[in-house]
Amino acid sequence: MNRLSTVITFLIVVASFSTGGAVTLNLKSGVVRYDVHLKTLGIGGDDVSAVNRTSIGKMTVTEDGQIEGGLIIPIVGFDSNNTKRDKDVAKILKYREHPAITFEVVEMTRQDIDRVLGSDSGQVNLKTKITAAGGSKVYDTVLDFRSEAANTIRFTTHIVGKFSDFGISPPRLGLILKTAPDRIDLSGDLVFEVEKGEQNQP
């Protein structure tokens, strides 16, 4: 089934490029998650994580191999099972001025793009820009991909970032009770639908 879906996806890609159209990846479903490790009085501590299932995503691969669009992750969509904490996190991320975290691919080779769109599964390297709370940072990351069904590709990735990358100080609870190191783990598990279409249609 996977092989069949890969073939169908590949044919769509080939047909798209041969007719001069772009290939668009529309986010179908997926989860973006953050993990923060907090230390109590500098030792041990808790792992805090939140999931977000409300992302909006669309990426268009143009004929010249550029990737436009990206992923919009609404800050209010993060759910850590603690509404007060979610509210505090949203404030830290300045959600009123910057209501979303964005994720975009800024560099990926044409060869890797073809592999993603034409292979059953694999790994590619790319540079991605994450923008949050008014700050941006470009990360080198590894993207795992796998064809799920006809015209759908599942992407998973894990990025280790820092709060200071976005101009944010690591959070704390109390004066010294709980503190977080300057590290935040971001991971994504996203399923995109591949479709042939014109580029630059948001």
Binding site: L38, D46, V48, V51, I56, K58, T60, E68, G69, G70, I72, P74, I75, V76, D79, N81, N82, T83, K84, R85, D86, K87, D88, V89, A90, I92, Y95, R96, P99, A100, T102, E104, V106, K129, T131, A133, G134, G135, S136, K137, V138, S164, D165, F166, G167, I168, S169, P170, P171, R172, L173, K178, T179, Q199, N200, P202
Partner: protein, 210 residues
């Protein structure tokens, strides 16, 4: 009185446990300057962001409302009032059992009405907040248990107040004496319902803060 001390210890233990739970994040120092942003424009993403930002609820936290803040602090007030009520009620009960006139009777009575009134308002706010979060799947079981326990507590407070009121009426009318009702007969239900309500208040806070 021993029961009251035990209950207070239970409350303090629970409060300590809930304080250990990470309930909020705070910035430890003023934000630093953001890292330099990449200057390459992504017009498709810009347009997507524009559309996203035009949506009225894009930056609206479902729980960022005064009803949640009031509910939170009113909840703590009710916990404190309940603690005080348990102590006052226990002292009143012990004095009555010893055959003396309790000095805590009036305070227990009026604090009881206050607690029942605040609980009614709190429950109304709680139902409002529950409806606001109805779309939010994560934590729904916890919120439902919180709501159930809080409703039980409020119903219990009102019932306890009604039982005490009726008992007082019976004593004033002389009905109690005519029927040879003892103090235990008149107030044991009030006591039981009060203890169950107080325990429900404790557990509903622990459930939601855990």
């Amino acid at each position: 009185m021993k029961a009251a001390i035990g209950f207070v210890l239970l409350i303090l233990t629970a409060a300590n446990v809930s304080a250990r739970d990470l309930s909020s994040f705070h910035l430890s120092s003023p934000p630093q300057e953001p890292a330099a942003a990449d200057t390459v424009r992504n017009s498709t993403l810009d347009e997507m962001l524009l559309q996203f930002n035009q949506k009225s609820d894009s930056a609206a936290l479902p729980y960022d409302s005064w009803t949640f803040d009031v509910h939170r602090y009113l909840g703590y007030t009710i916990v404190a009032a309940t603690l005080a009520q348990v102590i006052l009620g226990s002292m009143t009960w012990d004095a009555r059992k010893a055959g003396t006139e309790p000095g805590t009777k009036t305070a227990h009575k009026y604090l009881g009405y206050t607690t029942a009134g605040l609980s009614l308002a709190q429950t109304a706010l709680g139902y409002t907040n529950f409806c606001k979060l109805r779309e939010k799947e994560l934590g729904k079981t916890k919120r439902t248990i919180h709501l159930g326990l809080a409703t039980l507590a409020t119903a219990g407070f009102v019932t306890a107040a009604a039982i005490a009121y009726n008992a007082r009426e019976d004593i004033n009318d002389g009905t109690a004496a005519a029927e040879s009702k003892t103090f235990d007969d008149l107030y044991s239900k009030h006591r039981t319902v009060g203890i169950i309500s107080a325990a429900s208040v404790l557990f509903t806070v622990v459930v939601i803060e855990w």
